[in-house]
């Protein structure tokens, strides 16, 4: 080639110069565990379904959600949303309204008639589920999806367990419950109502089942001895609430005293108000801080006119009404009697002191370990008896719908493996996606969307739903508040901010790749990744 004056070399591209050799540390893409996912008792992949919801792809979002939990519409109403308590966004302004988006998706699915994907090919195995509460139903759902034939035997006249016979309508409308239960039955799950299992070994043998999952809940109300005359009726909350599902309205009178400090006590008092009580008073031994009921529920009850007497016990129920004794907390925080008495007028006392499990169906099963009235299970949810699994309120754990659903899922996975002669090993957990790894600058300012509440008058006189739903626009807004902690959401920052153009963009859904031939290891990408999905690791040099 004829070169111009003074030019001796052909022009070349700087790509010949592999600046990657300068590097002392390299960026790598990571996937970390977002705190919401880590906190969900049902093990939902929240961030993943929010990702679809953010784009308005609600059906895709719902499909990701129901891989772990078949009850989004129910969850969106009754779950105590520990996910929100853990959400990293709470350190910026307020947590993402995960629960309200979940409800929106669940309601949307009902409205649009979305069905589950087709189950896996039949395994030829049969599983008995005892109890059609959230735990049994969730297990049945997952087992059916995994290809097993499931029969649920339920003692009561309708499915739902405490979701129907405990949680009042003003928090969970029954058409919602029915719709989500029906969708599970559509998978071919057989539900046999009014069919109490008296002897589990016999039931498995007679039915020819290959395994069983027990989820009978905790339905026996704990009593406290209260000397009583005939002027005041003494009832228990579980029976009263259960009775509401029938035709009759329980006779509570005008002045109702509820004894206990849990969520059941709160629901009982709020129910009494709605049934026409002029006074609904909760009596609790300890202070408000020590109350096991959730703060927001206490708050809602107070708004509705429920009264609460903390640091008090009921000594007796006589013709004059009931006698309360004032308590004080000792140094260890235990309530101690003071001897100071007071009598108040009351027509009825409803006990809400917790429930025990009816374990009679297990009487003939040898070798079970029963501790404090509940059945011990291993990390695979199996009891000491091979092939007999259990979950929900009847095993040691927190008693919530979501925990029960999580047990059902976990048990189903282990039952599936057990039936196939394998063991189920969950994928190892990723490292935590901490707030400190985020670069919060990049997220737009956006306060949480508040769900509408029913007006007070109707909350005091009807069983209409108290908490309203988000609409499409507010749900979308709320979904987009998610920070995508710890997992790339394809914001292109790394692709853009690299001064050496050493990040290769692979296209929608395909993420990115580092070009280590040119990456000098400056670390700007890791610093400017909003969600902490890039780590710098030292090169061995």
């Amino acid at each position: 080639m004829q070169k111009p004056f003074a030019v001796t070399l052909d022009p070349g591209s700087s790509r010949a110069n592999h600046t990657g050799s300068w590097r002392t540390s390299r960026p790598v893409y990571v996937d970390n565990l977002p705190p919401c996912n880590g906190a969900c008792p049902a093990g939902e992949n929240i961030q993943a379904w929010l990702f679809h919801a953010e784009a308005g792809a609600y059906e895709a979002a719902w499909r990701v959600l129901v891989r772990d939990n078949p009850f989004p519409a129910i969850m969106g109403r009754v779950c105590y949303h520990p996910c929100e308590g853990a959400c990293n966004r709470r350190k910026l302004d307020e947590p993402v309204g995960i629960n309200s988006v979940e409800r929106f998706l669940g309601d949307e699915a009902i409205r649009r008639g979305w069905k589950f994907d087709a189950p896996a090919a039949s395994s030829g195995k049969r599983v008995l589920v005892v109890g059609a509460g959230p735990s049994g139903l969730a297990a049945a759902y997952h087992l059916a999806m995994l290809g097993h034939r499931v029969t649920i035997r339920e003692a009561g006249p309708l499915a739902g367990g405490m979701m129907r016979f405990g949680i009042p309508k003003y928090r969970l409308q029954r058409d919602v419950l029915d719709a989500e239960v029906h969708r599970i039955l559509e998978l071919g799950v057989e539900l046999v109502l009014n069919s109490k299992v008296e002897d589990i070994i016999e039931a498995i043998k007679d039915g020819g089942f290959d395994a069983a999952f027990l989820a009978v809940g905790a339905h026996i109300a704990r009593r406290a001895y209260i000397p009583a005359g005939d002027a005041v009726r003494v009832l228990d909350a579980v029976s009263v609430l259960r009775g509401l599902e029938g035709e009759e309205r329980p006779m509570l009178g005008r002045r109702v005293v509820v004894y206990g400090g849990g969520n059941t006590a709160i629901d009982m008092a709020r129910t009494a108000k709605r049934l026409g009580a002029t006074e609904a008073l909760i009596v609790y031994r300890r202070t408000r801080e020590k109350m096991p009921a959730h703060d927001f529920e206490v708050e809602e009850a107070l708004q509705e006119g429920v009264m609460i007497r903390w640091l008090s016990t009921i000594r007796q129920a006589g013709s004059q009404g009931i006698t309360l004794e004032k308590m004080v907390l000792d140094e260890k925080g235990f309530p101690q009697p003071t001897g100071e008495l007071e009598t108040i007028a009351a027509d009825s006392v409803v006990l809400a002191l917790g429930q025990d499990v009816d374990l009679s169906l297990l009487d003939k099963v040898p070798g079970l370990e029963i501790v404090d009235g509940v059945v011990k299970v291993g990390s695979d949810m199996m009891t000491r008896h091979p092939g007999l699994f259990a979950g929900g309120d009847m095993v040691p754990s927190e008693r919530t719908v979501t925990v029960a659903v999580g047990h059902g899922k976990k048990a189903a996975r282990h039952i599936d493996a057990w039936l196939r002669g394998r063991t189920y090993a969950p994928a190892p957990k990723h490292a935590d996606a901490t707030f400190e790894r985020l670069n919060a600058w990049y997220y737009s300012d956006a306060p949480k969307t508040v769900r509408p509440m029913l007006d007070l008058i109707r909350r005091q006189s009807t069983f209409d739903e108290v908490q309203g739903a988000l609409d499409e626009s507010t749900a979308l807004f709320e979904a987009r508040r998610c920070l995508s902690c710890g997992n790339c959401f394809e914001c292109d920052n790394c692709y853009g901010v690299c001064p050496d153009s050493a990040v290769i963009k692979l296209g929608p859904g395909e993420r990115y790749r580092f070009d280590y031939d040119y990456c000098k290891g400056c670390g700007i990408c890791a610093e400017e990744c909003p969600c902490g999905a890039i780590s710098m690791i030292p090169e061995d040099i």
Binding site: S14, V450, R480, C498, S501, G507, P508, I524, E527
Partner: protein, 332 residues
Amino acid sequence: MHQPIKFYQTGTHTIGNRLLKPEQRTVQSDRGRSNSLNCGHRACQGCGEALGARYAIDAAMDATRRQLIAANATGCLEVFSTPYPESSWQIPWLHSLFGNAAAVATGMAAAMKVKNRSDVRVIAQGGDGGTTDIGLGGLSGMFERNDDVLYICYDNEAYMNTGVQRSSATPPAARTATTAAVGDEPGNVFGQGKDMPAIAMAHGIPYVATATVADLHDLEDKVAKAIAIRGAKYIHIFVPCPLGWGAAAHDTIRLARLAKETGIFPVFEAERGEVTGVLRIRRKTPVEEYLKPQRRFAHLFAPTPRPDVIARIQAIADRNIRRYGLLDEGAR
């Protein structure tokens, strides 16, 4: 409490955002961006100038449908991109001298006019030294004649290529090779230096703007706007230099962001000498947070802390905030 439905998670803060409409997305987020300044250049790790140049020239390439030529002043940008016989530039690009980029570009624009190539647009670019010091005469002439050139200054606040000497864009109190951190008033003096965007505005040219590498959407918008205008345009881009400032390579964008958020570097645009828009401060930040990560300001913190000097720097930032209305509601 009606929520604005126009909420897009990261809005326009990030380089890309799958939730935005395609026309709202940046040139940089596009897989097909021209990558005008290619890989393999020899800029330091984390170089803000290399980044700023790719941002600006890619945006100009997009705005001109890739009919773009550039003249480049001597400086890091020229040296690290073109070690003979290699080049990182994927555009027609010409280097002549340290002080004459504006004049060379004027010639290029004239040539295009003669050749009837109104589609081809011309950029001149250089460092702060090449712009505010040695090249100012030629640049002023280019403004005065209203030549159809977009001049871009990459301001890293000193002569980096030759070893970090002071320029007339070096900030007060900064230590450079020629402004030692000794004596009562350590580092660069207060009260000198040139406010180059204001000088450009004083020429009454059609368009003047400032930008930083921390706000890509803003930077790209300004380049596109400048390209759409015929006549002389000036864009002054703030580009942190890890080497010259004694900062961590990974802090380049963070420092640019802090310069804007403290008010140290006002981001605005002006048409025919009048300010027409400013980028609002989003999280007002004291100047210490900007100064501390940079070794060129280390003498303000140790061994003898100099709150008095820091207060004078804060006063400069506060004046910018007042002067440009950087906290005003109306600002973007």
